[in-house]
Amino acid sequence: MIKAILIFNNHGKPRLIRFYQYFAEDMQQQIIRETFHLVSKRDDNVCNFLEGGSLIGGSDYKLIYRHYATLYFVFCVDSSESELGILDLIQVFVETLDKCFENVCELDLIFHMDKVHYILQEVVMGGMVLETNMNEIIAQVEVQNRLEKSEVRPFLSSSKSFPLIYVFGFSQVSAIKYSLSVL
């Protein structure tokens, strides 16, 4: 089970939080701070697993994270998840974001938190992995976006007008490599 998914930037500012277990708002913020503290002091060339995090989980839980340019993607999972599998899942998620937003950058996440949530909902549901096939995820997201477009008058939907200043550095992170036949 995945207990929480946190996305925050290099300064610890949350960009998306998704808890699959109830925590009060102040506790959520504390968890973000603690997690940021743990993760941010790690070099980029060390392993992506982290035990500890006293606030969330306990001994059965691990933090599995990836760092892309300005953003940290952190999954808090228990022992029923495969560590390498989750690493690949993060990659799937990020690549999906990249496809859906066309060269995703932090600003996309800042201004379209809701859309990021909708994409995430097609990947993980209630703490369990729902879909790992990127094409399927994108297809479902697109159908729903079309549905939304057909319902809502154009002036509410805003088009993307931000410069791509923080384009994710995909080159730093190797692609989905642990579960080769995923795609």
Partner: protein, 1257 residues
């Protein structure tokens, strides 16, 4: 009104949307909180408007603010409003907000039940999807109970997108409403074989999650998962399954044996690291469960270790980390295999990544031996010096202590060395683990008698240099060791070189700055020291020293009398008065030392930490009963003091050391003394050596002020542990030399004596004798101590409630609450009661025959027939062929695994199920002697687990008995098994008699139990709904039609294709000639006459299923559609194009959906007068009434409303909502069916079909 709307939309243009809010917050970095509070005010205004778009926009912004830590629960009601919008866009916003901030105590949740139910059944699959996603985050016990049935229905939705979500959310439903687990489980299990990989993966996910917490209940699924494991190519699914096996295998070692081979194959073949890693992990789990196991496992271990070494050597830090993690699991059972990789692990200690270093440390724990302990600890001590950051250093410290103290100091050969290591560790700055070091010091000093002299000397030095430890406020944690030092010096003061000096050190004014509990120990032990000083001066005519001691006490103790700490104060004032009195006596030249010493006489024995807990309560003793009248206010029990010994004492070490007999000990002691005497480097506890020691240059002269705390400190005057490493080496060498001289006999004795002690160490370790014996015998345990204390599960664990036996037959009371009658608790319709009774009356007979128990297994009123059923139907027509297949083509895994599935899947009565599993695990078919019997067994495929074993070629009927004997270790087990075999044989015999019917599938029977009420002894004949569609020499096609609950104009046709020939069938295309009324649904963009490609190929002997959706307009008439199946038959030489025509028969029955109905609702329906009636008579029906009902239920999708004797009312509903009511009566072979329906044509056709069903039998 119109104006208002216009106004609303104009306002909207000026509203902030989410992007504006974010931009605003970014532009108000300095006064963010203020800006947000104005935004919240705006949002509150927006929420008051009627326009749903405005509200949705506001809620969307709130979701963002929630992320920033703002509590938005005040808007919960508005969120519900937005959720109930009819537009997907807004609905989605609402559900997202709800999923972020609703939780169990959000009270508006109870308002959402109906809205969610509506969304779940929405014609738009994305409405349903959004509702499911939202619900998965905030489902409450109430929601779970009310919606369980709706969600369960969605598990069979036509869209895989919904199916997978519905399957996943069931896990949450189970957690919140455990009662739903048993009714929903059969369908969940069915989804393991869903044609859509996403749905399949979801089902695997859920079952794995369930099984992980309560593995024993899912053991019976092992064969099914085994099949999935060997057939699936989806790595995500494989990983989950393999992880699951890791959890199951400790419960059933035979399962492990079965797993080794396929897992090994996967390890060799997979290129996915994640899968490889999980395989290795599970193989390790298997090997652990088999640890006593078979000889050829060393190969598997070697494979694992070798693969892990590759991971650890990889430059990818993630793989390195996981490799170490898995290695530590192997270590527990197979330390030797890991020890050979010591180099690699030590190398990892130098890794720049802390996580990896920590993992390597874990491994070291298990790698130490007597030989290398000192070397490893030395290396760790270097790391301690180098380490940056206290966390890692503390971790190192605890690891050093763990490593040294493990298994009762088993690997320590020289305790002087260990004490000096501990003393060196006190130099650590800012460690939190002072108490840990302290408890080790105490433990060693108390339990290793021989070391006391040395320990006391060291502790005295430590006390003398106490300022080094307390100087820095940051180092507070470490001053705990002074507690130990003071106590050791006091308790074993007879060993002190110069008690007077130590006494002085303990009474320094600086001591008053220590924490209270340490001061208290100081004061108490100062008194002990005082006693020792007096004793040492006994008989000495010159009494100045004794008097000096008294004076010292009297001078210094008043400081402690003033202490704010009660404990210190109390002890100090007592002792002060005592000393004053002694001084008086001394002045009168009275000998007092004996009396004073008597105060502290007596030996302390260490007691095992849980000794008290393990004393069983004697019979007749009630600890809760009051002995006297209860006092008015009961005193709270003494809080348990922080046990300073308790942590390090391992529990199970006792017997080992008691085996060393006294003689041996004495002999060794003697040898050691001699050796020590001869050893010039050995620091003896004699006065002379101590002196030499203290005269070491620099001891007294190091000015304290000059010590730079950032450099690792050396407590002056303390020995370095390194010295002991050298000493120890020399000692060992010497010992070896001595040993050679000794005669062989003695050596042998010694070996046998000690062999028992350390059987885990390598051979050469035997030669190293410890310098001191650990006095473990004294770790006292009560005589009749209980063997072990089980750690209890956290009572708050939600999974505890899910510890449910899934194999028990489902009782009627367990049905999920159904929507039509929301009051789920009021299920008290008489029919229900009766049914419940009937089922229970059946219970005792369940073992009488296999069919019977199978019948009961599934309570699920499936509207769509389960896959299993379909397969059953297939058997009906191809009994013969199948039997041949099973016997002859043992190498056809796919086909047989399907069989496997059928056989083991159904949750049957527990005992029977266990024997099924036993069977599968034992790899042995029924020990039948004749080929005929085997054939029968195979023909009876479904219930006879023997059929499965055909999968493995080595399990031919004759051979297995041996295998089995060999495999079952305990005779107890054997007996059980033989018994089971016998039972099976008997069952077989029975079956022979009526295996004709029996073969047609038991699922039908089981389905009928819930519907048809059964009380007669006679078992139901099995049934199936699959009918033959077409057949030729290549292929056989069977089908079943089910109405779609979600859509009144759709039916789903499930078609099973079975390859009958030896060639490969591919490019299958299915086409139907549409009629005006019924049309095959084709994918978008294809023409009305295009055929559908079947998404699979069929290897020889394999069957598979495809589903086709048809839209129908009118359902009141049966009809037939013509169609063709085309396919290519491919074998080595050629490939031919083949064609098969068929007629698809849509009966009216297939438009009916089994719908439960309660007698009160049924009565109302009949009273309403809207229904037209009709009736038929069936003559010569020669079957028990319950069979008759069961058949109607099964074949015609009815459910029994009420049954009284030989009369029953039944109900069903068409996909377009027609009610069909039946009153069935039987009297001497004549059955009359009076029926009512709101559509007479439909009714007529249904009755005709019923008539036909019974005319066939």
């Amino acid at each position: 009104m119109a104006l208002k709307i216009v106004k609303g939309s104009i306002d909207r243009m000026f509203d902030k949307n989410l992007q504006d809010l974010v931009r605003g917050i970014r532009n108000h970095k300095e006064d963010e909180a203020k800006y947000i509070s104005t935004c919240i005010d705006e949002i509150k205004q927006e929420l008051k408007q009627d326009n749903i778009a405005v509200k949705a926009n506001a809620v969307c912004k709130l979701t963002y603010l929630q992320m920033l830590g703002y509590d938005v629960s005040w808007a919960a009601f508005n969120i519900v409003e937005v959720m109930s919008s009819s537009k997907f866009t807004y609905k989605r916003i609402g559900y997202l907000a709800a999923s972020q901030c609703f939780h169990e105590s959000t009270d508006v949740i109870m308002l959402t039940t109906n809205q969610i139910r509506k969304d779940l059944s929405s014609p738009n699959q994305y409405d349903t999807g959004v509702a499911l996603t939202g619900l998965s985050c905030f489902v409450t016990p109430d929601l779970a109970r009310d919606l369980a049935n709706d969600i369960m229905t969605l598990m069979s939705h036509t869209k895989p997108y919904i199916r997978k979500k519905a399957v996943l959310i069931m896990y949450k439903v189970f957690l919140k409403y455990p009662e739903s687990l048993r009714p929903a489980f059969p369908r969940l299990k069915e989804k393991l074989e869903d044609p859509d990989p996403g749905v399949q993966s979801a089902a695997v996910n859920v079952i794995c999650e369930l099984a992980r917490r309560n593995p024993k209940n899912y053991l019976s699924l092992a064969p099914l998962f085994f099949k999935l494991m060997t057939s699936s190519t989806n790595n995500w699914v494989l990983i989950k399954i393999i992880k699951l096996f890791g959890a199951l295998t400790p419960l059933e070692p035979r399962l492990g044996k079965k797993l080794i081979e396929p897992l090994t194959n996967l390890i060799h073949s997979t290129s996915a690291m994640s899968l490889l890693y999980e395989c290795v992990n599970t193989v390790i789990a298997v090997l652990i469960s088999l640890s006593s196991g078979m000889p050829n496992h060393s190969a598997s271990i070697q494979l694992c270790v070798q693969k892990l070494r590759i991971l650890i050597e990889d430059s990818d830090q993630n793989l390195k980390y996981l490799g170490l993690l898995a290695m530590s699991k192997i270590l527990k059972t197979h330390p030797k295999s890991v020890q050979s990789h010591k180099d690699l692990i030590l190398q990892c200690l130098d890794d720049k990544d802390e996580s990896i270093r920590l993992r390597a440390l874990d491994l070291l724990y298990g790698m130490v031996s007597k030989k290398n302990l000192m070397e490893i600890v030395k290396k760790l001590m270097l790391h301690v010096d180098k380490a940056e950051g206290t966390t890692y250093r503390d971790e190192l410290l605890t690891k050093i202590i763990d490593i040294c103290s493990q298994s009762n100091y088993q690997y320590i050969t020289n305790f002087e060395w260990y004490i000096s290591i501990l003393v060196e560790l006190t130099r650590l700055e800012g460690t939190r683990h002072g108490h840990l070091i302290a408890s080790q010091m105490l433990d060693v000093a108390i339990r290793v008698k021989a070391i006391r002299v040395f320990a006391v000397a060291q502790m005295a030095t430590l006390l003398d240099n106490a300022h080094m430890l307390t100087g820095n406020t940051q180092r507070n944690g470490i001053c705990e060791v002074l507690y130990a030092a003071a106590w050791i010096c006091g308790e074993f003061s007879e060993h002190l070189e110069n008690p007077m000096e130590t006494l002085e050190a303990m009474l320094r004014p600086k001591v008053a700055t220590l924490p209270g509990h340490i001061q208290a120990v100081y004061v108490q032990n100062a008194a002990k020291l005082f006693a020792t000083v007096l004793k040492s001066q006994e008989g000495n005519t010159d009494s100045t020293t004794a008097q000096e001691a008294s004076q010292l006490m009297i001078d210094r103790l008043p400081l402690f009398v003033q202490s704010a700490n009660l404990e210190v104060q109390e002890r100090a004032s007592c002792i002060l008065q005592l000393v004053k009195y002694i001084q008086k006596l001394q002045q009168k030249d009275v000998e007092v030392s004996e009396e004073v010493c008597a105060l502290f006489a007596g030996e302390l024995n260490p007691v095992a930490p849980k000794a008290q807990k393990k004393v069983p309560i004697p019979d007749g003793l009630d600890l809760d009963a009051w002995i006297n009248e209860p006092p008015s206010e009961s005193e709270s029990e003494d809080e348990q003091p922080k046990a300073i010994f308790s942590k390090e004492e391992p529990k199970h070490s006792r017997p080992r050391h008691t085996e060393v007999d006294e003689k041996e000990l004495a002999r060794r002691r003697e040898a050691r003394k001699q050796e020590q005497a001869n050893n010039p480097f050995y620091i003896k506890a004699s006065p002379s050596s101590q002196k030499v020691y203290q005269e070491t240059p620099g001891v007294e002269h190091i000015p304290v002020v000059q010590i730079d705390l950032s450099v690792p400190l050396k407590v002056p005057g303390l020995p370095m542990s390194d010295q002991y490493v050298k000493l120890e080496e020399e000692r060992r060498q010497k010992e070896r030399a001595e040993k050679k001289k000794k005669d062989k006999k003695k050596r042998k004795e010694k070996r046998s004596g000690r062999g028992k002690k350390h059987d885990s160490g390598p051979e050469s370790e035997e030669d190293i004798t410890p310098a001191h014996m650990v006095d473990i015998v004294t770790e006292e345990m009560p005589e009749n101590a209980l063997p072990s204390d089980d750690d209890e599960r956290d009572p708050a664990d939600p999974h505890k409630a899910l510890d449910i036996d899934l194999d028990k037959p489902l009782a009627d009371s367990e049905k999920l609450p159904v929507r039509s009658h929301r009051a789920a608790e009021v299920l008290k319709s008489p029919a229900e009661d009766e049914e419940g009774e009937n089922v229970s009356s059946l219970e005792p007979k369940k073992k009488s025959s296999k069919e019977k128990r199978e019948k009961k297994k599934d309570k699920d009123k499936d509207r769509k027939k389960s896959k299993e059923e379909k397969k059953k139907k297939k058997h009906k027509h191809e009994e013969k062929e199948e039997a041949d297949l099973l016997c002859g083509q043992a190498d056809e895994p796919a086909f047989q695994s399907e069989e496997t599935n059928e056989v083991v899947t159904p949750p049957t009565s527990t005992s029977a199920d266990v024997s099924d599993l036993d069977f599968w695990l034992s790899n042995a078919p029924v020990p039948s002697n004749t080929q005929e019997a085997a054939t029968v067994a195979a023909a009876e495929a479904a219930p006879a687990p023997g059929a499965i074993s055909v999968t493995t070629p080595d399990s031919e009927p004759e051979e297995p008995k041996d295998t089995e004997m060999e495999e079952t270790k305990s005779s107890k087990h054997k007996k059980k098994k033989q018994k089971r075999e016998k039972e099976d044989k008997e069952k077989k015999k029975k079956k022979k008699h009526h295996h004709h019917h029996h073969h047609h599938g038991d699922k039908g029977g089981e389905e009928s139990v819930q519907n048809g009420t059964v009380e007669e002894e006679e078992p139901l004949p099995p049934m199936s709904n699959y009918c033959l569609l077409a057949e030729n020499s290549y292929i056989k096609v069977a089908y079943d039609i089910q109405g779609n609950l979600q859509d009144g104009s759709q039916v789903v046709v499930s078609v099973i294709f079975e390859n009958k020939c030896d060639s490969f069938l591919k490019s299958m295309e299915f086409n139907v000639l549409d009629s005006l009324n019924s049309k095959l649904q084709r994918p978008e963009g294809s023409g009305p006459h295009d055929s559908l490609t079947i998404p699979f190929q069929l290897p020889p002997g394999v069957s598979n299923e495809a589903r086709f959706v048809f839209t129908v307009q009118s359902i009141i008439m049966p009809q037939k559609l013509k169609g063709t199946l085309t396919f290519i038959v491919k074998n080595e030489e050629s490939s031919t194009h083949e064609k098969l025509d068929f007629k698809l028969h849509f009966t009216c029955t297939s438009y009916l959906i089994t719908t439960p109905c309660y007698s009160d609702a049924f009565a109302k329906l009949l009273e309403s007068g809207d229904l037209k009636s009709s009736s038929i008579r069936l003559e010569g029906v020669n079957m028990p009434f319950h069979h008759l009902l069961a058949r109607i239920c099964f074949h015609h999708h009815f459910s029994v409303v009420e049954r009284i004797d030989s009369c029953a009312s039944m109900y069903s509903r068409s996909i377009q909502g027609h009610h069909v009511c039946l009153l069935v009566k039987i009297s001497s072979q004549t059955v009359s069916v009076d029926a009512k329906c709101d559509e007479p044509t439909l009714l007529g056709n249904v009755l005709d079909e019923i008539k036909q069903t019974f005319s066939q039998c």
